[in-house]
């Protein structure tokens, strides 16, 4: 079935966090549903739609920023009580807007995930999980890494309380009481959890998860072990998943999966006979989708997907057919309702305009006074700086409530800025004098009108570390700009994994000295991404990492006074050694560094690089030939006279070019890493081989694995 959905805007509220909008259950059979949405101004807004007009049911008073909104109620009755959490407080409202609960959880951190089930309340702050029953403390759990979301299997079907935590370290932790029952490893950082079918399926054990790198999966969490059902890869490089809902949209009796992503994509997946998901509908909004719900809001008996975006737009993708649209020339044809709506809006705008003019004047006047200060409140920025596994580059997304005027990027490490097709801003690189000011990159982005979201790609080099700063200036008077900082870590291209291949030849680095567990943890955090800020519980810890570009691995295990690092890539070890000793010296801690270099590891790494390098070289060679071959083809009239290999290149030219375009400078990066490997290998032997690099490059130009390995061995 082909879905044809139309976009309708309902209302704009303040900036919203993910999962802060829910549809209240319908009262009658066919009635429309009310929408409850909470924003960063601390306002809970409940409204219904009547003839295309948003009719408020209630609006709470402003307060602290609200991070989650959930529905609850006594088990077995309609879930129509509204629960919100802001700071460390949980509040409850009836559907009429009467506040009946205010509960201070007394946590030191802000609550960022919450679930309500009957009289049970579950809240999660950064690392802490807490379970309350009738506002009395029941269970407590401290997670090893940040908790992004949580869900509880339905008590009605499962018969017991089973909380599931989605943690930053790529693990779903399934709890029993205050204890960990088992955990389930997934390939990306889980960002959102939702019960499949809204009730967890037949046995109430099926949980949908979405990851920050855009994957979507289903897992059955039985009482003893997890059973993975399916996982969808993010091949098209869409944004990370922010919200999920299930709703029977296609009317086939099976609930479809609705997904909202941080690049504004809204998707509907249908489940086929074998319960495999297939994409049925896709639409791209201009802002990240914070909440998604299936239901019926605009007009009775027309189902729709209701979304709220980061900037607070509540809108629907509805099955209701739209009337013929009128052009700008004949506004008379617009429906009465819209006209009235527009007139009201215009009147409101005029009033506001007057107020703003007064405000402006007063602001101007204050500039005459010598005692007054100008203090413009901080505007909110929704930003993400994540490593993309596929092309081993960082993607930086910035989203602001109002249109962005310009962006200044500054970096004190050498990095490459890549072009992103979606990004329409005009970029301009400025000359940088690295000497006195330490700038390696100064670039400005001048945005087109109405750009609220910017996406950039940055390529870093391992071993070179520092800070990338983004100065964002929105189009808002009085003009201000805000700076955001992003760390480029020494081993910036590494990513956490769950385990490594121990059979590879490994180089080891061992540190012994008078340092505490917290100290060495902070050093490791300084070197590697995705390490939790908090010092892990227990005496020692082991983390596993993978280099996203080369596929080499790293094992870091350390405790108080000792640290062991193992990697099959000698460059990784070399970088670690340099940075760790530098950090220790900074804190005046005496380190005893010893290392064990495995000669085989170098040729092993080279063999690992070999297929990549060979493929890239071949690709480059083929791409080079395409134009010449095409010219021959035109000249001769056909390509029959060519050898099959060349004809093949011609046939595949479109795909080859596409691939080549996708990986700019891939070959240069590989060359750079091989050169580093070469230098690092001999650095551990105490030799400086910088003079031989030109010979190495010569060998690379006429690449052959054996001669390269020989060169590494002989030099």
């Amino acid at each position: 079935m082909e879905l044809n959905l139309k976009h309708v805007d309902y209302l704009q509220v303040g900036v919203t966090s993910p999962k802060t909008m829910k549809l209240l259950p319908a009262v009658g059979r066919k009635a429309t549903q009310k929408v409850a949405v909470a924003d960063h101004d601390g306002v809970v807004n409940c409204f219904g739609m009547k003839k295309g007009e948003a009719v408020p049911v209630f609006r709470s008073l402003p307060g602290q920023k609200i991070s989650r909104l959930e529905l609850g109620g006594a088990l077995g009755t309609p879930q129509e009580k509204i629960f919100v959490c802001s700071g460390s407080e949980v509040r409850g409202y009836t559907k009429k807007g009467k506040q009946f609960l205010s509960f201070e959880a007394n946590l030191t951190e802000n609550i960022n995930a919450m679930r309500v089930s009957g009289a049970d309340l579950f809240v999660c702050a950064s690392y802490i999980y807490n379970h309350y029953c009738d506002c009395k403390d029941q269970n407590y759990f401290l997670s090893g890494d940040k908790i992004n979301d949580m869900v509880c299997l339905p008590v009605e079907t499962v018969g017991r309380t089973v909380p599931v935590l989605a943690c930053q370290d790529r693990v779903l932790r399934i709890l029993q009481g205050s204890e960990l029952l088992y955990d389930f490893e997934i390939s990306g950082q889980p960002s959102v959890l939702e019960l499949h079918n809204r009730d967890g399926g037949k046995d109430g054990e099926e949980v949908l998860y979405g990851t920050a790198d855009g994957k979507l999966g289903l897992v059955q969490l039985t009482c003893s072990a997890p059973v993975p059902k399916w996982e969808l890869d993010n091949e098209k490089k869409k944004g990370g998943v922010l919200c999920i809902d299930t709703f029977d949209f296609l009317g086939d009796g099976v609930k479809d999966i609705l997904v909202g992503r941080d690049d504004g994509t809204v998707e509907i997946y249908g489940l086929d006979n074998s319960n495999e998901p297939t994409l049925r509908f896709e639409n791209v909004l201009t802002e990240s989708v914070a909440s998604i719900q299936g239901g019926c809001v605009g007009k009775e008996s027309y189902d729709e997907v209701v979304t709220t975006t980061y900037t607070g737009w509540v809108s629907g993708l509805t099955t209701e057919p739209q009337q013929m649209e009128a052009g700008p020339g004949d506004e008379v044809k617009m429906s009465r309702e819209t006209q009235a709506k527009l007139a009201a809006l215009r009147a409101e705008l005029e009033q506001l305009q007057v107020k703003v003019m007064q405000g402006r004047e007063k602001y101007q006047q204050s500039s005459q006074s010598s005692t007054a200060v100008s203090a413009v409140p901080v505007f909110s920025i929704n930003d993400r700086f994540t490593l993309c596994q596929e092309d081993a580059s960082y993607s930086l997304t910035l989203e602001v409530q109002t249109a962005i005027d310009n962006l200044l990027l500054q970096s004190d490490v050498p990095i490459d800025l890549l072009d992103v097709d979606k990004n329409s801003a005009v970029v301009s690189f400025s000359e940088c004098d690295s000497e006195p000011n330490g700038n390696f990159l100064l670039a400005t982005y001048r945005c087109q009108a109405n750009t609220t979201r910017l996406e950039l790609k940055v390529r870093s080099i391992e071993g070179q570390y520092g800070t990338l700063q983004a100065y964002v200036t929105p189009r808002l008077q009085p003009k201000t700009c805000q700076v955001r900082q992003y760390q480029i870590k020494p081993l910036s291209l590494h990513q956490r994994t769950h385990g490594i291949d121990h059979s590879r030849p490994m180089n080891t680095l061992r540190l012994v000295g008078q340092f505490s567990f917290a100290e060495i943890h902070s050093w490791v955090m300084f070197c590697l991404p995705e390490v939790p800020e908090k010092t892990p519980a227990g005496e020692n810890i082991t983390f596993y990492f993978q280099n996203t570009f080369l596929g080499t691995q790293l094992e870091a295990s350390y405790c108080k006074g000792e640290g062991n690092f193992k990697s099959d890539n000698i460059s990784t070890i070399s970088i670690l050694k340099d940075v760790l000793s530098k950090e220790a010296t900074k804190r005046k801690i005496n380190l005893n560094i010893s290392y064990d270099v495995n000669e085989d590891s170098v040729s092993h790494t080279l063999t690992m690089i070999h297929p990549k390098l060979e493929y890239q070289l071949l690709l480059a060679k083929k791409v080079q030939l395409i134009d010449a071959l095409k010219e021959l083809q035109v000249h001769e009239g056909n390509a029959d006279f060519l050898i099959p290999e060349y004809r093949n290149i011609l046939d595949e030219s479109a795909r080859l070019l596409e691939e080549y375009k996708k990986q700019p400078a891939h070959l240069e990066r590989l060359y750079g890493m091989i050169t580093d490997l070469f230098i690092d290998k001999f650095k551990f032997k105490g030799q400086n081989v910088k003079t031989k690099v030109s010979q190495l490059l010569e060998i690379l130009d006429n690449y052959d694995l054996n001669s390269l390995v020989d060169f590494f061995n002989d030099a």
Binding site: F379, L442, Q477
Partner: protein, 715 residues
């Protein structure tokens, strides 16, 4: 939503900007474009049936609708239209770097073939001014040349730099066409026959021009700007990060007014309103757009917009029908309007909140004050421009100093300006240690142009994460790189230009103050400057009789000064006497070099003809030997042939070097004429240009220098 009415895949690459539609048999429009391997293809879907491959034409084996035309040279421009007085159909004109070919496709015969030494970068076909017959006008290296249907040179003039784009339109509204020329020195020049009527300065190479309607025309620049001019006033412009490949005027929404259609390098096509630049329609190709043309391709009496991509994809669009009411995009107008108004409301609310919060602010009582970047309300930035001479470690520059009056600091300064930086912006971002309330920005404008500096300064406290953005615009005068400070040891310039004006010296002083960075209180027009960009002095002196003498060795500078002064004083015609001994000596050398290169060229051509007859002989001998079975002789002959071939290749290299050298000399000569013209204004200017050109034609070098010195006052 407007959709293409036809799409074609032509399987031939299309060279950007070399696409046209011609009715070669007088009836059927054929899409004609330059492709690889020095060929032009003609797509004629109307007349099927094989034609004999003969002369230049050959049938494409891949597609029966396509005939290929062999030019055997890289094509650089292409046009089709009526040239002769009584031809049946359109004539195809093909320009290359060395020649122009007029070709009758219908009869498969050359009409004329002309060698053009200045090359043909752009071509237009049509009537110009009072010249009776239509001309094919080509623009090459600094020269414009027009040919009638017999190939007679009917029109010739010079322009400032290499021509990149041309269009014929009635710019002055006198009922006759003027020629608009866009060139690599960023200027759009308007010629009424060979008289220069006006000049518009842009900030990048002008890559395309197109006539809209009346005196209105569209333009595109190499930096991604497109826009519309009405006469000399710019209506609107927009800048994109992509490059405009082709622009065309077409009434796509059927409202009777043409829109500017732009084809972009990323494959996007958009149509913009000629008044506002608002996008009314867009579509996407998978590869870069090559050209946008129009024609009645379906032969049904309706003209379509035809867009082509470099990969040979062709799409045709019909103008929108009445039902669409100008709404060509798939959006609901009401929705858009409501959204826009709500967005504005949100913006005003946010601004209002900024003022309210600001009013609440009491110094020292705000939470997070240091991050918010609170500054005294009376902070105002001071900016100053001053000229700085070269020091040991810095080149001579103009210093823009920006400072705050109190303890606040300037975190960074962004300057957006056109044409003086590598990109469109320049950033100064001091390191965290060296933050202060004063920032000096060195600016080195590469040319003498007046520039608006749009300065954005981020002002706040040392630890702020949010800053106030101060936006200031300062104008950099045209001749800012000239310093009043004079080193007495510098030799006096030998070049001078003298002319008389009927104005008071005060007016000249006013002009000086406006165009130079001068200290206050200058009231004499006699002064001497040091040129910071080049070497040497510039002195200006005015006699009480109104005679002004400019002393400089830089003839370009003298020309700029004369033109600027004449514009300021509104002088229409100005005769001048000039002498630039150094430059004239250089020119004399260049002229003799031109002769030398010419004779070398002739010699080489003769040698080549000689060699080719040798080859023919040797080939016959070698083949004879082969047939006779005399392998020894055959081998010998082939070896000789091989040697001869090598010689030929070497000779070719010499020839092409010689040709390039000749081209640069010829360009220098053309520029010299242009420069001599720029020392005068109005009629005397055109007279000098025409007379100089005649002198060169007659090879009368002495007369040329006399003309350059004295102008044409004597005649």
């Amino acid at each position: 939503m407007l959709v293409p009415i036809f799409t074609l895949k032509l399987n031939h690459k299309i060279n950007p900007r070399m696409v046209t539609v011609g009715k070669f048999d007088g009836v059927h429009p054929c899409l004609t474009a330059a492709t690889q391997a020095g060929k032009v293809f003609i797509h004629n879907p109307h007349v099927r049936g094989k034609r004999q491959a003969a002369h230049r034409l050959s049938q494409s084996t891949q597609d029966s609708d396509i005939t290929l035309l062999n030019i055997n040279q890289a094509v650089s421009c292409l046009a089709a239209g009526i040239l002769g007085p009584n031809t049946t159909g359109d004539t195809l004109l093909v320009g290359s770097q060395t020649s122009l070919l007029a070709y009758d496709v219908h009869d498969n015969a050359d009409i004329f073939y002309r060698e053009v030494t200045d090359g043909a970068n752009a071509i237009v076909l049509g009537k110009l001014g009072n010249i009776h017959s239509p001309l094919a006008i080509i623009g090459g290296n600094c020269a414009l040349q027009g040919f009638d249907y017999e190939g007679n040179d009917q029109f010739w003039t010079v322009t400032g730099d290499n021509v990149r784009s041309m269009v014929l339109c009635d710019f002055t509204g006198d009922g006759k066409n003027e020629l608009l020329v866009g060139s690599e020195d960023f200027d759009i020049r308007v010629f009424r026959e060979d008289e220069l009527v006006s000049e518009m300065a842009e900030n990048e190479t002008v890559t395309s021009l197109c006539h809209m309607h009346g005196s209105r025309f569209g333009y595109a620049l190499a930096n991604g700007t497109v826009g519309v001019y009405d006469r000399t006033a710019r209506y609107w412009r927009i800048k994109s990060k992509n490059h405009a490949m082709s622009i065309h005027a077409f009434d796509l929404n059927g409202d009777g007014v043409v829109e500017l259609i732009t084809g972009w390098s990323n494959g996007k096509i958009d149509a913009r309103s000629d008044r506002t630049g608002e996008v009314i329609f867009k579509d996407n190709f998978s590869s870069s757009v090559a050209g946008v043309v129009e024609g009645d391709y379906r032969m049904d009496g309706q003209v379509q917009l035809i867009c082509t991509s470099v990969e040979g994809e062709v799409r045709g669009y019909l103008p929108a029908s009445k039902e669409l009411k100008g709404n060509l995009m798939d959006t609901s107008v009401e929705q858009e309007l409501v959204r826009e108004l709500s967005q504005r409301k949100q913006n005003l609310l946010l601004e209002l909140r900024n003022y309210e919060e600001n009013n609440k602010a009491v110094p020292g009582a705000i939470e997070g004050e240091s991050q918010m970047g609170v500054i005294p309300a009376n902070t105002q930035l001071q900016t100053a421009l001053s000229v700085r001479t070269a020091t040991e470690n810095q080149r001579a520059h103009i210093e823009l100093s920006i400072s705050t009056p109190n303890e606040t600091i300037i975190r960074a300064v962004l300057i957006f300006a056109e044409g003086i930086f590598e990109g469109e912006s320049h950033v100064v971002h001091p390191s965290a240690q060296s933050l202060s309330g004063c920032i000096c920005v060195p600016i080195i404008p590469p040319k003498d142009i007046p520039v608006d500096l749009h300065i954005k300064a981020f002002v706040g406290g040392r630890t702020s994460t949010q800053f106030h953005v101060f936006e200031i615009t300062r104008q950099l005068p045209r001749f800012s790189m000239y310093d009043l400070h004079v080193d007495p040891s510098t030799p006096q310039p030998k070049g001078r230009v003298t002319f008389s004006i009927n104005d008071r010296p005060q007016r000249v002083v006013m002009w000086l103050n406006q165009n130079f960075l001068l200290p206050e209180g200058i009231n004499s027009p006699n002064m001497t400057f040091t040129a910071l960009r080049g070497e040497g002095l510039l002195s200006i002196s005015m006699h009480s009789s109104g005679e002004i003498t400019l002393n400089t060795d830089d003839i370009d500078l003298a020309g700029d000064l004369v033109q600027s002064l004449a514009t300021f004083l509104a002088i229409e015609d100005l005769q001048a006497e000039a002498d630039f001994p150094i430059y004239f000596e250089e020119l004399r050398v260049t002229l003799t070099e031109v002769d030398e290169f010419h004779s070398v060229h002739q010699k080489l051509t003769a040698a080549m003809a000689d060699h080719s007859s040798h080859i023919r002989n040797m080939l016959v001998q070698a083949e004879d030997a082969r047939l006779m079975g005399d392998l020894k002789t055959m081998k010998k002959r082939y070896i000789e042939l091989y040697n001869l071939n090598r010689d030929l290749i070497n000779e070719y290299k010499i020839r092409s070097n010689n040709h390039n050298a000749l081209l640069t000399r010829l360009k220098a000569v053309n520029q010299a004429i242009q420069r001599a013209g720029r020392l005068r204004v109005g009629k005397p200017k055109n007279q000098v240009i025409t007379a100089c050109r005649d002198a060169i034609k007659n090879n009368n070098i002495n007369a040329l220098f006399k003309l350059m010195r004295a102008g044409t006052a004597s005649s």
